[in-house]
């Protein structure tokens, strides 16, 4: 396992006290903490480089542009893309998925077409498709994947595949159950019928080695802030021919080729899809985050998380009245464990845990349809990352036991 005592030192916030206790941060599926080098990178950018990109020929502007564009290259290598121009910077996964929905799907779908998605989607990979379907006359179909086992995911999707399916929009890993979806196998299915595979990678990119070429998907969306980077930066990767066919959803500066009084032509990729001044400092910070991840190694992070997950699952199942939502084994999951406890509302549990310095998430985690299906209003979610360790899990368990003693 990773030496978390050393890793924790790279994150200033992790030495913080909450309610008189050392912070145990287990809300990583919502956002990860940022290592000092990311914060220093942002600070260095503002102190030494700050200028707008693609605008000036003065030295600072050139430097800002170089850093911004070299991050595009870093990202494209990180996810195994062929060219940096396949990487579009956005404000986050939500904007990335909206760009596919409203820039591509809106112009390419018609009445009778089917958009296939699942019950495990975050609202950001669900609501845009509802709107696209409503506007184009396409039908949105939701595949009911088993929340408690990942065994039959491929089969469940296969059963819904027809030649009317034009888009499959699916998460790479559920933010509620943690289940990892067999995206590569699904890509073979979509390819065989000429459909487009849109992958929400928000929960996968921090935990799994992602290679878009090997996955053979068509679009892949994710956020920087879940993989140690700053908030306000996201990525949409797309096949170049599909990005060429994607219309801008934001218009203005930086995305034009020529503007006359009545007409405008667009700039080439990637600028066409990046109107306005981007989050340059955030992108620079993101570059530092990816360097940090690469230094440790994604496979090492994954190994650490599986062991930690396994330990947590084994301890949690022993608690009376506790039900884990999601597949039983750590290997089938990213670092996410959601659960409910008989007779204890997730809000109350999260409040007691907070009083013990343990940060978890309670609520529907932006998937209301799944919670409705499970007939629960909310659940509690603990989610791990590379800096968490066995002690953190023990503090979680102690907090849960305390909550049970208070609330039951």
């Amino acid at each position: 396992m990773l030496n978390t005592n050393i890793i924790k030192q790279d994150f200033k916030i992790l030495s913080k006290q909450i309610n008189g206790r050392d912070l145990v941060y287990l809300d990583n599926a919502a956002t990860s903490q940022k290592p000092n080098i990311v914060i220093e990178g942002i600070s260095r950018y503002y102190n030494e480089i700050n200028a707008n990109v693609h605008r000036g020929i003065h030295q600072l502007s050139e430097q800002a542009t170089d850093e911004y564009e070299s991050t595009r290259k870093t990202v494209s290598q990180f996810i195994g893309a062929t060219y940096p121009k396949e990487v579009i910077f956005t404000s986050g996964t939500t904007e990335s998925l909206n760009l596919v929905a409203f820039g591509w799907a809106m112009h390419n779908l018609k009445k009778g077409d089917v958009i296939l998605t699942t019950n495990l989607e975050h609202h950001s990979n669900f609501v845009p498709w509802q709107i696209v379907a409503g506007t184009t006359g396409a039908t949105l179909q939701t595949v009911a994947l088993d929340p408690y086992s990942s065994e039959h995911y491929l089969q469940s999707i296969k059963e819904k595949i027809t030649d009317r399916v034009k888009i499959v929009a699916i998460t790479h890993a559920s933010n509620v159950t943690g289940a990892i979806i067999p995206v590569k196998a699904i890509a073979k299915l979509t390819k065989s019928i000429g459909a487009i595979l849109v992958v929400d990678g928000a929960q996968a990119i921090p935990h799994l080695e992602v290679n878009v070429k090997r996955l053979d998907c068509d679009f892949y969306a994710f956020s920087a802030h879940k993989i140690l980077g700053p908030t306000g930066v996201g990525v949409l990767w797309g096949r170049p021919e599909l990005l060429e066919d994607t219309a801008p959803i934001k218009y203005g500066g930086g995305m034009i080729n020529e503007v006359t009084e009545h007409t405008t032509t667009w700039a080439d990729l990637p600028e066409k899809l990046e109107a306005g001044t981007p989050n340059i400092a955030g992108v620079v910070g993101f570059s530092e985050a990816l360097k940090y991840i690469k230094t440790i190694g994604m496979n090492i992070i994954r190994e650490h998380e599986v062991l930690l997950n396994d330990y947590a699952l084994k301890r949690l199942v022993k608690i009376d009245g506790l039900t884990i939502i999601g597949p039983p084994s750590a290997e089938e999951r990213t670092g996410v464990i959601s659960f409910i406890i008989d007779g204890i509302h997730p809000h109350d549990l999260a409040s007691v845990l907070n009083s013990e310095g343990v940060a978890v998430r309670s609520g529907h985690h932006c998937n209301m349809p799944l919670h409705t299906e499970l007939n629960i209003p909310a659940s509690t979610r603990a989610s791990f990352y590379l800096y968490n360790n066995h002690d953190d899990v023990d503090r979680l368990i102690d907090g849960i036991l305390k909550a049970i003693s208070i609330l039951k």
Binding site: S351, V352, G363, I406
Partner: protein
């Protein structure tokens, strides 16, 4: 613990007052807390411009249930105008615990539901001039 789960709150959570249904309510409503999906159902019986009876049902957290229990106890016998001007601050005072911003939403769910339900209601038994 700078404990929100103090005795009074837990007492109202474990033994909530006015939980249940009214047979012939004057008004009823359901309200959801969009943050967590918790729902509260409220029913009131209004007579002579006053809250004669009020009942609630909630599949919700301790803060929501306790505040609904305290609120319903408080408003019985009050006029509609008095209920409409009942402030969130007053309810939070009655709860008597320090809450964070997100938990305040739980604490005022019942009050918001009640006030929205009464919005625009005019009691036919009260002659207005």
């Amino acid at each position: 613990m700078q404990d929100i789960y103090r005795e009074q709150l837990m007492e109202h959570y474990k033994n909530p007052q006015n939980k249940g249904m009214i047979d012939d309510p004057t008004l009823q409503t359901d309200k959801k807390n969009p943050m967590c999906g918790d729902m509260i159902s409220l029913q009131v019986k209004i007579d002579d411009g006053k809250i004669k009876d009020i009942k609630f049902n909630a599949n919700a957290c301790a803060v929501t249930v306790a505040s609904a229990s305290i609120l319903t106890e408080e408003v019985i016998g009050k006029t509609i105008d008095e209920v409409k001007s009942f402030t969130k601050e007053r309810l939070l005072d009655l709860l008597g615990v320090e809450l964070t911003t997100s938990r305040i939403k739980c604490a005022v769910l019942a009050l918001e539901a009640l006030q929205e339900m009464l919005e625009g209601f005019s009691d036919p038994s009260v002659q207005e001039y």
